[in-house]
Amino acid sequence: MDKRNIWVVCDAFDHVDSFTGQLISKAYQLSKESNGCVQVIFLGDTSEDELKRCALYGADEVVYQHCETKDERLWLDILSDIYSSIGADVIMFTNSDFSKTLSSFFASRFEVGLTADCIDICFEDENGFVFERAAMSDSVQARIICIDSQCCTCTVKKNAFVENVINEVKELSIRKWDYKGSFNTDDTYEVISCVKREIENSADLDNAKIVFGVGRGVKDKETFDLICQAGKKYNAVVVGTKCVVDDGLLPKKYQVGQSGRSIAPDIYIAFGISGANQHLVGIRNSRQIIAVNNNENAPIFNIADVKIVADVKEFIKEFSE
C-alpha cells in the first residue's frame, strides 16, 4: 500500500520555528500509526541547513519553494500547485492569523474538510484521521472526521503538541519546487499608514509558576483589584475566562481556553470560574488546581485538587490580609 502523505505547512518564512516543530512531532507520531510519510512544505526564504532541522522532529521530506513575499493568495497558488502534483492525505497548519486564512482558502478551493484549532489528532483504523476540538456544548470535546473529502485539513492550537527531537537518524530528502506561476501579489489595495505594534510578549504567561484565573463570579472592580494585588504579591499572572475578557476586564491575550491560550503553571487558582470545558482545555496541564466558588456543585471542582466553597469577595479579602 502507498504511504499516506502527512503534510506540515511551515509559515515561519525564514526558519523552522518551534510551533512548526510541534506539528512535525505530531505528524511523525501519526506517520507511525498510519504508515505515513511526513512532508514539510516550506514556502519562503531560508537555507538548506535550516531545512535539515525538520529531520530532527521526524520529517521524511521537505518540499521547498523559494519566494520573497508572504502573501496568502500567492501561497495558496503555490500550495495548490504542489498539492495537485504530489497530493496529501492530511494537511496540518499552525493557527496563526496567516495560516488560518491560508487553510480556509485552501479548503474552500478544493472543497475539503477543515477543522479549526485542533488540540489533538489521532489515527484509527475504522475512522481514519480524527480531529479533536472543543464542542459547542460546555463539557465535551468533539471528535471530527472528514467525509467525502479528498484530504483532511486542520489548524492546530499552539502548545497542543510537544516539540520532540526523535532518537532515530532519518534520511531527509529536500525537494526544491519550481513554481511556474506568477509571483505577483494582489494590487487592489494600498497601505496608507502602518504602525508596528509590540508583538504581544507572552513569556510572562508561558513561564509563570503561579496563575490566578478570574471568572464571572468576580462581580465587582474591588474584588478584581484585590486579586490583582494578591497576584503581584505572589508573583502570579492574572488571566481570565472568555466572559471576563469579553466584558473588557482583561485584554484578549490573557484569555485562557479553547479560543484563548493554554497554560501549564505549577499552581492555578480559579476564582469564580464555573469550569466550562472550553476553559478547562486551557488549564488541564496545570500541576495543581485550586478552585474558589460559592456553588458547591460547580463543574470546576471536578478537576480541582483543592476545593474551596466560598464567596470570592469574602475569600479574597481574607486572603489579602
Partner: protein, 249 residues
Amino acid sequence: MIKIVVCLKMVPGKLIDAERSGLIINPYDLFVLEKLAEFKKTTDISVIGICMGGESAREGLVRSKALVCDDIYWLNDIKFAQADTIATTKTLSAAIKKYIPDADAVICGGHAIDGETGQVPAELSEKLGITYFSSVADIESFGHDSAVIVKKDEGSEMTVRCRYPFLLSVDSFLTYASNLNIIALKRAQKWEYKIISSEELGIAQTDCGAAGSKTKVINSVNIIYKKESIEVGGSIKEKADHVKKLLQQ
C-alpha cells in the same frame, strides 16, 4: 450608491448572558451593523443582510432590519441545516452570486461566538474570487471606488485603501445594540421577509447542509479527567490560610 452585503448569523443568547433565551445577532455581526448604521447617516450606501437560519432567526433579522438593512435574504430551509463551513460557504456564495452579483463589499463578523472557527469569511472570499482582508478592526470611510479600513494584525496596525469588490472579516464586537429605534423596530416587524429555499436558490442538496459538509462530528468525549479533590472546610480565614500555605511551598 455603494452596495454592501452583510453576512448575519444568529447565535444562542445564553452565550452572552445566562438569562437570555433564544437567538441573538452574533456580536461581531452586530458591530458591523451598527457601524453601517452610522455611515448611512452621511454616506450613500445600501445594506443588504444575508442570513442562513431557521425560524428562530426571525427576531435577530427584525433587529437587523430596524438597525440598518434595506433588504434581507433569509436562506431558510431544513436542507441548509447542520452545515459545516464548506457547505455554509457554498450556500452563501450561491446566494450572493444570484441575488447581489454587483455587491461592492461583503462584510462578515470575524467569528461566530458559538462556533469560533472564523473560517467562513476567508472561505467565502475564495469562492467569490474577491480580495480578502482579515483582522479588520474598523472601517473609516466608503468612497466612490474604494474604502479605507483599519487592520490590526499580530504585529502591526495598518490603514489600508481597498478597491471594490472585497470581503472584510471584522474582529470587533458589540453585545448590545445601542442604535435601535422603537419606530424602526415596529416597522421592521411588519416587513415581509423573503424566505429563500434551496430550490429557489438553485443549489443541489448535496452542496448544502449536512449532505454538503466535508466534516462530521462522530462523537464527543470528555477529555477532562475527574480528580479526587480535597475540600478545605472551616471558617473563611482557615480557607484563606490554607491557600496561602500552598502558595508559600
